[in-house]
Structure formats: structure tokens, C-alpha cells
């Protein structure tokens, strides 16, 4: 049952564990890649944006923080650019982290503060997005995460998924979302509070892989295909992580436009009585991280 690779990984970890005896901090080595829908390439606007998705990677003295946000496309029909909300949210959260205005064990706090800061902007921002924040407490070697909506994260250890976030949907294709609505429409448009986000915390080990992504990935690629790609990740350096992130995103992108492929999205629709097939064209954002040792 054990492949040579996973055996080798076990041995390596034992050796590493024995050798390092490290009381040292952990860190995340992260890379992002993605595609905007409609073949809009990942034009880097402000920070990292792929279509209406946005993400960030930030670090502070005590923690490494990742975030993804999926802008809800329906706003386009009302003349609002859906990417503005998600990009501003992620940029604001990044700034909060860089300035240390957060607690590593409270990722919901980052969302709450980020949302509050967006309301302090003189610009009348409009729009909504999902959000997923992952925080690695370096010294405590603990991961704290929160998720609002249908983006999410997986934690892969030893080739298996050991943790994952839950999707939050109000109804089909309507995820939980943070939003700033035009005045007067608060009763009509969905606006979930940051407190509605799911939180989780767990310890991490060296070599754990954390994949944070928007639903563009999870709706097009089932777990086993993602795991297959992740098995190819050999080294804990940025180039390898980036390469793997790129291949995952590329594969999801190819599958999204395959009309005959039975994507997880199509499967779910069928389970609910809709006779559909094929991928789901959507913005795809993949943020891939691996837990490594912190070296100065």
C-alpha cells in the first residue's frame, strides 16, 4: 500500500525530526497562480488579482498570513466592477498584517478589521466577495483559518487531505459573502457578517502542504486530481511551489472549458436534478504553501 515515495517521505521526516530537534519557528513558503475567466490573463492589478478573484501573502513578526477572495460577478449587471471589492479587501487585510494589527489565533478578526477599514474609505466601494484567511502562528506551529463562502483551503499531509474547510452557501451558487451594498438595498442584497465565517485551528508539521483556492479550482478539479499534482511537489523552495501551483491552475483551467468532462460542479448539479456536464468556467486562484523551517 505504501508507495516508495510516501515511505521515503516518512523516513525523511523521521530523520529530519531527529536531526533538527528544532525549537525553531515554522514558516510558509507560498506561491500563487491563476487565471481570470474569459481568458483574461492574470493581469496583476494591485497585488495579485485574477479576474474578479484576489489574493495576498503577507508576513509579520509572529505569523505568515494568506488570503483569497472571490468577487461575486453578479454586480457587473448593476454597473459595479466586482474585482474592486475583492482586491481592496485583500489589499486591506495585507496591510493589516504587515502593520501587526491582528492576532494570529483570530483570523476572523482580520476579516472584521479589513471589512471595517473598507467602510472607512472615502471612496464609495460597492460589491461583495467570499473570503478565506489562513494564518500560521510560527512559534506555536499552529494554523488558524477562517472561511466565509465557497472559497476554501485543504491541508495535505503524507499525500492525504487531513483538513479542509467547509463551503458556506445560502442556496445554489450563492455563497456567504461580505458585501457593501448601495444604500437602501440592505434588505434585498445578501450581506453576511464576518462573524458568520467558520473558524478552525490545528497543529501543523514540516512538509504539510496548504492549498488555498477559490471555487474556480474546487469546482473543476476533484481532490484526487489535486493530490496527484501535489505528489509532484518535491522540494520546499519557492520555484517548486510556484511550478506546482501553476500546473494545478493550468489543469483546472483546461478542465473548466472541457464540455464533456464530469466536473465536481456538474456532479453536484446532477445530484440536485440538473442534467449538466462539463467544467465550470470561472476565475481560478491557487495559493499553494508548504510548511518549512524558518531560517533567517
Amino acid at each position: 500500500m505504501f508507495s516508495v515515495l510516501s515511505y521515503g517521505r516518512l523516513v525523511a521526516r523521521a530523520v529530519l525530526g531527529g536531526l533538527s530537534q528544532t525549537d525553531g519557528d515554522y514558516r510558509l513558503i507560498s506561491a500563487s497562480y491563476g487565471f481570470g475567466k474569459d481568458f483574461r490573463k492574470g493581469i496583476l492589478k494591485k497585488g495579485m488579482c485574477y479576474g474578479d478573484d484576489a489574493c495576498f501573502v503577507a508576513r509579520h513578526k509572529t505569523a505568515d498570513v494568506l488570503g483569497v477572495a472571490d468577487g461575486v460577478g453578479g454586480w457587473r449587471d448593476y454597473g459595479v466592477d466586482p474585482s474592486q471589492f475583492s482586491a481592496t479587501l485583500m489589499k486591506t487585510c495585507e496591510r493589516l498584517v504587515r502593520e501587526g494589527r491582528f492576532s494570529p489565533n483570530n483570523p476572523v478578526g482580520i476579516l472584521t478589521s479589513g471589512y471595517f477599514e473598507m467602510l472607512q474609505n472615502k471612496l464609495p466601494l460597492l460589491g461583495s466577495s467570499t473570503a478565506c484567511i489562513v494564518v500560521l502562528d510560527r512559534r506555536g506551529r499552529r494554523l488558524h483559518a477562517c472561511n466565509l463562502g465557497d472559497s476554501g483551503f485543504l491541508v495535505v499531509r503524507g499525500g492525504e487531505v487531513v483538513h479542509r474547510s467547509d463551503e458556506q452557501q445560502h442556496y445554489f451558487n450563492t455563497p456567504y459573502q461580505l458585501s457593501i451594498a448601495p444604500p437602501g438595498s440592505e434588505g434585498v442584497l445578501l450581506s453576511d457578517s464576518p462573524d458568520a465565517a467558520d473558524s478552525s485551528s490545528f497543529d501543523v508539521e514540516l512538509g504539510d502542504i496548504i492549498l488555498t483556492a477559490t471555487d474556480g479550482l474546487f469546482d473543476n478539479m476533484p481532490d484526487h486530481m489535486i493530490l496527484m499534482e501535489l505528489r509532484k511537489l518535491k522540494n520546499s523552495n519557492y520555484e517548486s511551489v510556484l511550478q506546482t501551483a501553476q500546473s494545478i491552475a493550468q489543469q483546472a483551467h483546461d478542465l473548466a472549458y472541457d464540455p464533456l468532462y464530469m466536473s465536481p460542479f456538474a456532479q453536484f448539479a446532477c445530484d440536485n436534478g440538473l442534467n449538466v456536464r462539463g467544467g465550470k468556467p470561472d476565475d481560478i486562484t491557487v495559493l499553494l504553501s508548504i510548511v518549512a523551517e524558518y531560517t533567517d
Partner: protein
């Protein structure tokens, strides 16, 4: 010896710098080559204190804490959230009826209206200070350095502030970003605490600052070892010879009077002449003769006293010296004074016990020495107080504010950025029924502003101006009661109050209830719409200042109606209003040239 005589003669005619260099020239041959000091460049580590800011407490948008660290915006220009912005700009606040009249005897060189204190990591002898101004530059009027290290554990003793640079308020030719690095004076102590003082009166919009660099050297340059005592002070006083010539006043007249003809002037005339002198000059003049001492110490010269320009040097002893002259004091400005232990309860008590009985106006903005005991003394001694300013006294504990209830004659009360709580405020409003001007801006500890509004409407019917900037939970209910009860209201600042919704009709009702309205700020209320503007046009012909920043719902046509109906309008802020672009602004400005139409940009 001959060489020494030559040196003295040269010194007498030259400047101190020349004397130093000539001295150095004599001795330089004996010294080895001087080591080059390494220049250290630092960004501010922490913002310690400031007088005001635009943003919310606990926010990082438009707040003073953004001045620490590396620049976030520079070299871009524009109105960005990541900059440090003060609460006011221009003369719009000074023009209002709610503004107190200025104090007399302000020294000519003192222009400062706001300040910010920054701490740096390492104390250095400063060689240059550079400020990144990213929007409407030109406001910086003074840069000072402090001898005290704010990170040291010791209590501050012998705190000295030295002015590194000082200038007039200016206005840069464009609103674009710039680096401001004036030539600074060299001081003889290392510093890691700087203070910037600003005055944005000439600017067309809020100035915004991004970062400050302090450049300096760790070790004092060898030049400074040539201390002043080595040079005979007589060499440097150029004027000394002139003074000795004027030994006999007014020359040959046989009718010798003690003070020349001066003492023949009527008492009141001398008093009038003296009333134009600044305070330090008045004190110096008192030392010149007994007559002038009598004049300079006359309590009639001290009916108004502003000690704010002297904040760096004022201490308990100074107050003690001034005490005997201030028995007729009516207006006292102690704003910005007394930090780091310079003023204590003893000094203040002693002063106010002598001088408080006639006090009508007391300015205590940013007075960090103020604690509950001090405020209690104020309430016991200054029973006639009508104006009290506690702006940014953010270290005053909530229970201290209950003492304000004793000022039953209070007409003007400023509580901007204080920690006052609901119960104390309601008590104050119950007792202080003569209130005309009330500032509750950024009072974040108040739980329910609707209740406060209700109390105001019930008790403070003479209210003329009300500042509710950033009052986070005022609703249409409270606003309606306020408009109904306080019919004399002329100025109302409801900026950044998110819970007011235009759809309730509250703004329209406000316009109908307050026909005398001259100032209305609805900054960042995203629900302001054409109907509100049209109702203002219909009902408020006296409108002078209007701010509707950040709404998507107001059209150019409605604004035109307003401009036509309100001939007194002087300020219209339409920044970030989606339907009002630069073309519209230019068109309206052309048609209504007396109105300053503001449209901020983010590049």
C-alpha cells in the same frame, strides 16, 4: 599676542561661524585628520502624540499612525487612506460662528495649529529631516527636536525642545506629492523625538503626510568641541558698543526724569502701548525700570493669556511667577502645555485658586497633565466658566467628566476625541442648559447618540452649533428630535455617521426644521440623494458650507439648483461623488465663481 589681538578684532566684526573657523584655522595644524561620521537614516518608529486626525480611532485609514514607517503612497499623489491627515484645513472652521475669537499677543513667529510627535529608534545629532507630503503640501511650519528619549525607562527630567526649522504656512503650487527637507539648525544634543507643527490655512484641501526621515550622526562632529566658552562672549555682541554710546537717554535736556519723557504719558496710553507686546517682551520690559515693571505687572495686561506658543518651556514655576499678575484673567489658553511632567496638579491648583474666579474661557486642548483631580480643581475655582476646550485630552478618565456639570454657565464645550461616557454627558447636558456650541466629534465611548440628541433637544435649546463627527449610531429618530428641539441650530457636522439613511426622510426634515442652517456636513453618508439637495435648496437659503463627499446618488442638476438657491454658499465638497466629475465641477465653478467646489482625487 599680536595674533590674538588680530583674532579678537576679526571676531568682533565677523559672525560666530567665522570666528569658529578662524580659531579652528589656528589650531587645525596641530590636529590629526578628523574621522568622517556615518550618517544614519531612519523612518519614524512610532507616533506618540498628535492634536487631531481625520480618521476613526482604531483605524488605519487617514489616521496619524500612518506617519510611522516607510512611505505607503509616495511618489504617488492623491487622497489615499494610508496617509496621515489632520481633522481640518483652510479657514473653513475659523470662519464659523462656533470658532472662538483668537487670543491677543500671539507672537509673530507662532503659526502652529496642529502637531504630531514621532519617536525614532536611535538618538542622533540631526543633519536633515525630510517629510513626504503626498497631497496638498505646504503646511509644515515648525520642526522641533527633544532631548528626552521616549523609549528610556527614566522619568523625563530637564526636557529641552529645540527648534530645528521654522517657517510661514505656505501653499505649494500644485497638490502633487513632494519631499520637504528644509535646512535645519544643528543642535548640541542627540535626539530621537521629533515634533512637526502644521498650519494648513492656505491650502485648498486636506494636507496628507506619508512618512518622515530623520538623518543624523551618532557621534558629535569634532567641530562642536570648540565650545562657546572658549570664545569670549564680548567678541560676539556686536551691539555692545552702540549700547554704551546711548548711556544718557535723550541727551542734553536738563529736565532729568527717571525714564525720559516716557513717564509723562498717561497711564492708559502706556497700557495701550504695552498691550501690543508679546508676553516674553512684556516680561523683559518689566526688568528695565520700576515704572515699567508696575505697568507690565498690571493685571489689566493679563485679561487674556495664551501660553500655547510657549508650550515647550512652560512649567509650574512659570505659572507661579505669572500668578500675581493674573487676578483679572478672563481667557486662558494652556493648550499643548504641561507634557512630560512640566505642569502638575500643585502648579495648576495654585494658579487657578488665584486666577480662576473671573475665568470665562479655558482652552485645555491636548493637555496631557490633566487628570480627574485637575479637572476637579478647575470646577471648584472657575465657577464662571463659559467656554471649555478639552479637545484630544485622551488621557482623561471617563469619571473626570462629571465635574463639568458644575459649570452651569457653560456656552461652549469641546470634547473632541475624549473618553467621555454616556452618563456623564447626559448629566452635563442636564445642567448646562446655556450651551451654544458643542463638539462631540470622535467621542467613541458614547453608547447611544439618539439618547444624547433627545437630551439636547430637551435641555439645550439655545444650541447653535453641534459637531457629531463620526458618531456611529445616530439614527433618523435622534436627528428628528434634535431638529425639533434645537431650533437655533446653524452648524451641524454629521460626517461619517453611517446609520443615518436618507430614505427615512431625515435630511429633508432637517432642512425644513432648520431654516437658519449655515453649515451642514454629510461627509461619507452614501445615502444623500437629489431630494435632499433639492430640499436644502428650498429651505436653507443661508447655507454657506456643505460637504456631501462620497455619495453616488447626487446629480449635477440638483447641485445646480442648490447653487442657484443659496447665494451665500462658499464651500461645496463633492469629492468621490460618482456623478460629479471634473468637467461638471469646472462648469459649476465657472457659473458660480464665489463657491469653492472641492473634488479630491486619488490620481
Amino acid at each position: 599676542m599680536f595674533y590674538y589681538i588680530c583674532l579678537r578684532r576679526r571676531s568682533r566684526s565677523g559672525t560666530r561661524g567665522e570666528a569658529l573657523t578662524s580659531r579652528r584655522a589656528v589650531e587645525s595644524g596641530q590636529r590629526a585628520a578628523l574621522p568622517v561620521s556615518v550618517e544614519v537614516e531612519q523612518y519614524a518608529k512610532e507616533v506618540l502624540d498628535f492634536s487631531s486626525h481625520y480618521g476613526s480611532e482604531n483605524s488605519m485609514s487617514y489616521t496619524m499612525w500612518n506617519l510611522a514607517g516607510v512611505p505607503n503612497v509616495y511618489p504617488s499623489s492623491g487622497d489615499f487612506t494610508q496617509t496621515a491627515v489632520f481633522r481640518t484645513y483652510g479657514t473653513w472652521w475659523k470662519q464659523c460662528a462656533s470658532a472662538p475669537p483668537p487670543f491677543r499677543r500671539i507672537p509673530k513667529g507662532f503659526h502652529s495649529k496642529d502637531y504630531i510627535e514621532l519617536a525614532f529608534e536611535e538618538p542622533v545629532y540631526p543633519t536633515s529631516v525630510e517629510v513626504f507630503e503626498t497631497y496638498y503640501p505646504g503646511a509644515i511650519v515648525q520642526i522641533l527636536a527633544c532631548s528626552h528619549n521616549p523609549f528610556s525607562q527614566n522619568q523625563p527630567t530637564d526636557v529641552r525642545w529645540e527648534v530645528l526649522w521654522s517657517g510661514e504656512p505656505t501653499k505649494a503650487p500644485t497638490p502633487q506629492a513632494r519631499q520637504f527637507a528644509p535646512t535645519i539648525k544643528h543642535i548640541n544634543f542627540p535626539t530621537n523625538l521629533l515634533r512637526l507643527e502644521v498650519n494648513s490655512s492656505l491650502l485648498d484641501y486636506y494636507t496628507e503626510l506619508d512618512a518622515v526621515i530623520l538623518r543624523g550622526v551618532k557621534e558629535r562632529q569634532m567641530l562642536a568641541l570648540y565650545k562657546l566658552p572658549i570664545i569670549d562672549i564680548n567678541d560676539l555682541s556686536d551691539g555692545e558698543e552702540e549700547l554704551t554710546d546711548v548711556g544718557v537717554p535723550f541727551g542734553k535736556d536738563t529736565e532729568r526724569t527717571q525714564n525720559g519723557y516716557f513717564e509723562k504719558l498717561p497711564y492708559e496710553l502706556i497700557q495701550l502701548i504695552l498691550s501690543h507686546l508679546s508676553l516674553p517682551d512684556l516680561c523683559r520690559l518689566a526688568q528695565s525700570s520700576k515704572l515699567l515693571q508696575q505697568h507690565c505687572y498690571d493685571p489689566l495686561q493679563y485679561t487674556q493669556l495664551s501660553l500655547q506658543p510657549y508650550w515647550a518651556r512652560l512649567n509650574d514655576a512659570s505659572l507661579g511667577h505669572l500668578q500675581s499678575r493674573c487676578t483679572l484673567l478672563q481667557r486662558l489658553n494652556l493648550s499643548w502645555t504641561g507634557h512630560r511632567g512640566a505642569l502638575t496638579l500643585t502648579g495648576i491648583s495654585s494658579f487657578l485658586k488665584v486666577c480662576g474666579q473671573n475665568l470665562v474661557c479655558l482652552e485645555l486642548s491636548c493637555c496631557h497633565f490633566l487628570n480627574e483631580a485637575c479637572l476637579e480643581v478647575v470646577s471648584q475655582t472657575c465657577t464662571q466658566l463659559q467656554e471649555l476646550n478639552l479637545s484630544s485630552c485622551d488621557r482623561l478618565s471617563p469619571q473626570a467628566f462629571t465635574h463639568i456639570c458644575k459649570f452651569t454657565h457653560l456656552r461652549r464645550l469641546v470634547l473632541y476625541r475624549t473618553k467621555i461616557e454616556q452618563t456623564a454627558l447626559l448629566s452635563i447636558l442636564t445642567f448646562c442648559v446655556e450651551l451654544r456650541h458643542l463638539n462631540l466629534g470622535s467621542c467613541v465611548r458614547i453608547d447611544d447618540y439618539d439618547v444624547v440628541a433627545s437630551m439636547l433637544a430637551a435641555r439645550c435649546r439655545s444650541l447653535r452649533s453641534l459637531d457629531l463627527w463620526r458618531c456611529r449610531n445616530l439614527t433618523d429618530r435622534g436627528l428628528a428630535e434634535l431638529a425639533f428641539g434645537c431650533k437655533m441650530l446653524e452648524e451641524l457636522d454629521l460626517g461619517w455617521c453611517p446609520t443615518l439613511q436618507s430614505s427615512t426622510g431625515c435630511f429633508q426634515q432637517l432642512a425644513r426644521s432648520l431654516p437658519r442652517l449655515s453649515k451642514l456636513f454629510l461627509t461619507a453618508n452614501r445615502s444623500v440623494c437629489d431630494s435632499d439637495i433639492e430640499e436644502l435648496a428650498r429651505c436653507c437659503p443661508s447655507l454657506q458650507l456643505l460637504d456631501i463627499l462620497g455619495t453616488r446618488l447626487v446629480s449635477a442638476a440638483a447641485l445646480k439648483k442648490l447653487l442657484q438657491a443659496c447665494p451665500l454658499l462658499r464651500l461645496l465638497d463633492v469629492s468621490f461623488c460618482s456623478q460629479i466629475d471634473m468637467r461638471v465641477v469646472q462648469e459649476l465653478s465657472g457659473q458660480f465663481p464665489l463657491v469653492s467646489i472641492k473634488k479630491s482625487f486619488t490620481q
